[in-house]
Structures are given as structure tokens and as C-alpha cells.
């Protein structure tokens, strides 16, 4: 019977360690890419268009006006693509973020401008998603700035992660298709300081401006 080579045991131990280190390095790689996505990014240009908007759900609002605004009904949840508007603006905010606080009056202006235009009020709707915020914190933000459009808490940040909104505020523009899908045509992080300019960008990139001309 041949005895195992004395180096055999050592080689076996080494291979275990090497495997562990490989797992470690692989995990480290994953983490560093995750960490990168969570670092502060403030793109100056909207991202290239035509990516599919992930479909996520929120509870149907209790408030009758909000239900009517979104065109959703019943108890339970609704899908974002069920919102009755061809264009949807999503603001990912955080009650604790100073730029979100500073942007709030401008986003309110944007909402009022859209609601004041009969050609747009049924074509563009706005919702806010409070990343890492509890319902209490979202309500505080809503009341503090008198925000008229629906806000939803995203306490575990899962929806914000799906949307890849790693910096606040982030503004996303999406076109909702009749087949229940939605296409993201706009993505920009950073403070909003000019509602008119922002609306103009949304009209251009969504194609609503061309529709008007036809």
C-alpha cells in the first residue's frame, strides 16, 4: 500500500485556502461595484434613453384625490404602470437630504405648472418615493413643504435600488405603454432649481412636444 506523499495534505489544505480567498475576492469585487453605485453621483446630462422601467408596486392611497389623480382604485397595491398617464415623473427623495428639501418648492412649481395646463394635466403625472424613509418621515416632508402630489415611503430602499437611484434627489421620466410596460427616457440626479427648464426637457425627451405639433 502506497503511503500518501507528505505534501499531499499540505496541498489539500492550500487548495481549501485558495478557494476561500477566491470566494473572498469575488465577494469583494461585488461589494466594490455595489459601493460604487451607492457613491454620490450627479450626472450633468440625462442618461441615454430607452431603458425599461422596472415595475414596482405601492399601496393604493387612502386619499380620494390621490387615487383619482393616479387613476387607481380598490384596496391592495397598484403597479406603477397602472397610473393613468402616458408620462410619469418619479422623484426619488429623502426627507433628510438638504437638496431634496431645497428642491421641494421647485417640484411643487412643476406640479402646479402641469396641472395649470389643460394640454398636459392628463399627460404627465408626478409621484415621489422616499428612500429609506418611514411613513412618518414621508408625511413630515409632505406637510412641511405642502407637497400636493402622492408620496410613497420606500423604507427598505428596495424600489430605489431597482431604479438605481443612489443619490438624492433623482428624477426619472418614464413613458407608460398600454401593454403595461414602461420605458425610462430620463434619469438625472441633483438639485432641481428650474421647473420650467426641467419641464421643457421632459416634453422634448418624452416626445410630447412633437405630439403637440402634429
Amino acid at each position: 500500500m502506497s503511503r500518501p506523499h507528505p505534501g499531499h495534505k499540505i496541498r489539500k489544505a492550500h487548495s481549501g485556502i485558495v478557494l476561500f480567498i477566491l470566494i473572498l475576492l469575488f465577494s469583494f469585487g461585488c461589494v466594490s461595484s455595489e459601493t460604487k453605485s451607492s457613491s454620490i453621483i450627479a450626472p450633468t446630462k440625462p442618461s441615454p434613453p430607452k431603458t425599461t422601467l422596472p415595475v414596482f408596486e405601492f399601496p393604493v392611497p387612502q386619499n380620494a384625490w390621490e387615487k383619482n389623480y393616479l387613476g387607481v382604485s380598490g384596496p391592495g397595491n397598484f403597479k406603477v404602470t397602472q397610473i393613468n398617464s402616458p408620462v410619469l415623473i418619479i422623484e426619488v427623495f429623502n426627507m433628510y437630504c438638504p437638496h431634496c428639501q431645497r428642491s421641494a418648492p421647485f417640484v411643487n412649481d412643476l406640479f402646479q405648472t402641469i396641472q395649470g395646463r389643460t394640454d398636459l394635466k392628463q399627460k404627465i403625472k408626478i409621484i415621489g418615493i422616499g428612500i429609506g424613509n418611514s411613513p412618518y418621515e414621508v408625511d413630515l416632508f409632505k406637510n412641511k413643504y405642502g407637497i400636493p402630489f402622492p408620496l410613497f415611503p420606500d423604507q427598505d430602499s428596495s424600489i430605489s435600488k431597482m431604479l438605481r437611484a443612489s443619490s438624492t434627489p433623482t428624477f426619472i421620466g418614464a413613458k407608460i405603454n398600454r401593454d403595461g410596460t414602461a420605458e425610462q427616457f430620463y434619469f438625472k440626479s441633483g438639485e432641481l432649481t428650474d421647473a420650467a427648464n426641467f419641464l421643457s426637457e421632459i416634453l422634448n425627451l418624452s416626445g410630447l412636444k412633437q405630439e403637440d405639433k402634429q
Binding site: I17, E34, S38, P98, Y136, L140, S157, K161
Partner: protein
């Protein structure tokens, strides 16, 4: 498995867990641009709290960013006090916790309370950092105090000084008699939900 191999595996596994946990703060405000120092995942707690609800709050006097000093006992018989210790300026979580409190002024007024923000940083650092939390020309509505020298003396008195010289992320709610009514030494990596503080403040008036 040999003892050495077992220990090595355990060590590598612990290291792996630490790296995997570095991404708990998902989004940061664009307000601070790229000026926030990434601290990674820290040990949730690294001190022993010696105070509890029902204890007399230790008195202290600290310099404020706006000039002058604040003494805790000056509020005795007049106001409830919330002390918010945050670990350090220019770090994640801390950089958005106080801006949140800054828009929650009504919550404190409603409960006849003042808020004192404390870190172990020096006054110039706190001045620059807290300026980023407000609109140009504005400032936080609550005093920000420096527990810089003797270093962390007040944090130490409250049992919330960590071994590396920063404080825990801790909240103390103190009533008008100077008695501690609520403590929350929070996981340093996470922001305490405002709901819990609101509940503690409302209990003061029951």
C-alpha cells in the same frame, strides 16, 4: 479540519462578512457632493452605556458653533431636552441626520423641547459641515456643540464614547427636571427613525 485551518477559515469568513456589510447606506444626498468620507461598515456599538431612564442627566457646558457656551442645566424647569450625539462630521448617516431634524422643528416645539447636537469635532469643522445642511444664509435652528476638548469628555460622561474617540449615534431625551426619560444608542451605521423620537417626546407630556 485541523485547528489552524479552522481558525484561518473563521478569520476569512469574518473578514468576508465585514466586506459584505459595507453597503448599508444606499443613497446619499447630492448636497455634500463627493465630500463625505466613506467609513464603511462599523461595529454597531463600541461603548458601555452607564445611564438609563430615570437617572439624572449629567450636567455639562460646551462651546457652541454660533459662539458662547450651552449648559444643560440652563433648561432645567423650562424645556425638555433632546441630546443628539453623532459620531463625526463629514461622514455618512451623520450628514443627513441633522438636516432631517432641521425640518422637524415643529415636532420639538409641540413637545416643548430643545435639541442639542453634539460631536467630538472642533468648532471650525462643525461650522463648515453644518453650513452644507442649510440654504445659503440660513443655519440649523438648534445649537451644535463641540465636545472636542477635553476630547469626548461629555460623550464619555454619558457612556457613549467609542474606543476610537468618536461618539456613538445616540439620543437622550431629558425632561424638565433633568431626568433621562429615553435613551437610544443606535447602530452607528443606521439613522434612528424619527418616529421613535417623536413617540419618546410625546410620552414626556403624558
Amino acid at each position: 479540519m485541523s485547528k489552524g485551518k479552522y481558525v484561518l477559515s473563521l478569520w476569512l469568513f469574518s473578514l468576508l462578512m465585514v466586506f459584505l456589510g459595507t453597503n448599508n447606506v444606499y443613497a446619499q444626498s447630492s448636497s455634500f457632493k463627493d465630500n463625505i468620507y466613506p467609513v464603511g461598515k462599523l461595529k454597531p456599538r463600541d461603548s458601555v452605556l452607564t445611564l438609563k431612564a430615570g437617572d439624572k442627566a449629567p450636567d455639562f457646558t460646551l462651546p457652541a458653533v454660533d459662539g458662547g457656551t450651552i449648559t444643560l442645566s440652563q433648561y432645567r424647569g423650562k424645556k425638555n431636552v433632546v441630546i443628539s450625539f453623532v459620531p463625526a462630521a463629514w461622514t455618512p448617516v451623520c450628514s443627513d441626520q441633522w438636516p432631517g431634524y432641521n425640518i422637524a422643528h415643529d415636532l420639538f416645539v409641540k413637545n416643548d423641547a430643545v435639541l442639542l447636537g453634539i460631536t467630538v469635532d472642533n468648532i471650525p469643522t462643525l461650522y463648515s459641515w453644518t453650513k452644507q445642511m442649510c440654504n445659503p444664509g440660513e443655519k440649523l435652528w438648534f445649537p451644535v456643540l463641540s465636545d472636542f476638548y477635553p476630547h469626548g469628555a461629555v460623550a464619555s460622561k454619558y457612556g457613549v464614547l467609542r474606543s476610537n474617540g468618536v461618539s456613538e449615534r445616540a439620543l437622550f431625551v431629558i425632561d424638565k427636571h433633568g431626568v433621562i426619560r429615553h435613551t437610544d444608542v443606535h447602530d452607528i451605521n443606521q439613522r434612528p427613525p424619527l418616529d421613535e423620537l417623536a413617540t419618546a417626546l410625546e410620552k414626556l407630556n403624558q
